[in-house]
Symmetry: C2
Subunit: 218 residues, 2 copies
């Protein structure tokens, strides 16, 4: 199909498609004439993936490109593709990193992970992000929330196993790589949304039981 | 304490403290002279909360103000404070909302939630965010990932119950409100980080078992 059809079929505006081409997120089509190129279903799939990463996953163009570049490299081990996806969702650092309270928080997380026998890499943006959050919870001085740290550790163990197994059950290495990217980035967005829905449900039932009796829905 | 001491104790630069005052995130101190005001420990706690929301929770100043304004209003029911925190973490919308595929995805999520007897509000940004993610997963055409939707529903149910109960176990209404805000926003960041750590652990053990034998840590 022509680029105009690619735009129409995907619903992505033509200038945006051209922008993705220029930025190297979408590979060039096959040149058929001086000013014309042909695009196939793989371009359509790629366009959908770019939109999912940037809109649902909220990645910047630079982060989306880093993830896609990693997932395009057939020599890269799967764990490194996952590392690129993890880097993209954990980029921003809290400013108190390296301060004593932050180092303590990081040690708490590392210790809990080691007690569970988790393998933790030396370079690990997720560990630093966890330390950011634990440091903030400790600074807020709310001891009632501390037990949630263990609750979260308990909850993510089986979850991560099922996620990784679902992705590894895919047929081709190419699908697995896309699955890692989609599973990491969209899975996070979906999980967070469902967690909020569940919190609303529980708190409505506890605080406004009369309201939770009926279920107006939407 | 003077504003300069408030800045020094909190580690927040003086111009930033003044910016929070101007933007109404931090309440004014008690006027002691024409050009002087006195700040107390409640200002210090508030300043820590603002930093946690904007840096660890990645909220914009406008979103942080909306959450803090809601949590400052003693007449507001707790569920509405939670609603403000939820709005802040689910603001951005995918552009395909309202299209048939998105409506289908939303119906899938609503149906699953109703089968579990969840109470879903009419205005519910989390439901729309869940629909964004499910629509993107369905568009990516990876049937191996669909079962994860149920896995996530299963995982968030006990998690949300423990989170809401931890917050409600706090002593004063004021603490509960702060707990809702911190629990929603920092809890999400912490949970996401731990989920990534757990995924790394599982995939390293499955894909590179020789590496996972030792544990270099950091």
């Amino acid at each position: 199909m022509r680029i105009s059809e690619l735009s129409a079929t995907s619903g992505v505006p033509l200038p945006t498609v051209k922008y993705y081409l220029r930025e190297g997120l979408l590979p060039a089509g096959e040149r058929t004439a001086r000013n014309q190129a042909e695009y196939g279903p793989e371009h359509l799939a790629r366009l959908r993936l770019i939109r999912a990463l940037t809109e649902v996953g909220r990645l910047s163009i630079a982060d989306a490109r880093a993830v896609l570049t990693a997932s395009d490299d057939p020599r890269l081990p799967l764990n490194d593709v996952m590392g690129a996806a993890h880097d993209a969702v954990t980029r921003r650092a809290a400013p108190n990193r390296g301060e004593p309270a932050w180092n303590d928080a990081r040690a708490v997380v590392l210790d809990m992970a080691r007690q569970r026998g988790w393998h933790i890499e030396g370079h690990c943006p997720a560990l630093d992000q966890a330390a950011d959050a634990v440091a903030a919870v400790l600074a807020a001085d709310m001891p009632e929330l501390y037990p949630l740290i263990e609750v979260y550790f308990d909850a993510v163990e089986p979850l991560a196993r099922q996620e990784v197994e679902a992705v590894l059950s895919m047929e081709s290495p190419d699908q697995i790589v896309r699955g890692v990217v989609i599973g990491t980035i969209l899975g996070e967005s979906l999980f967070n949304a469902l967690r909020l829905l569940a919190q609303q449900n529980v708190s409505t039932k506890l605080l406004e039981p009369e309201k939770a009796g009926g279920n107006p829905g939407a």
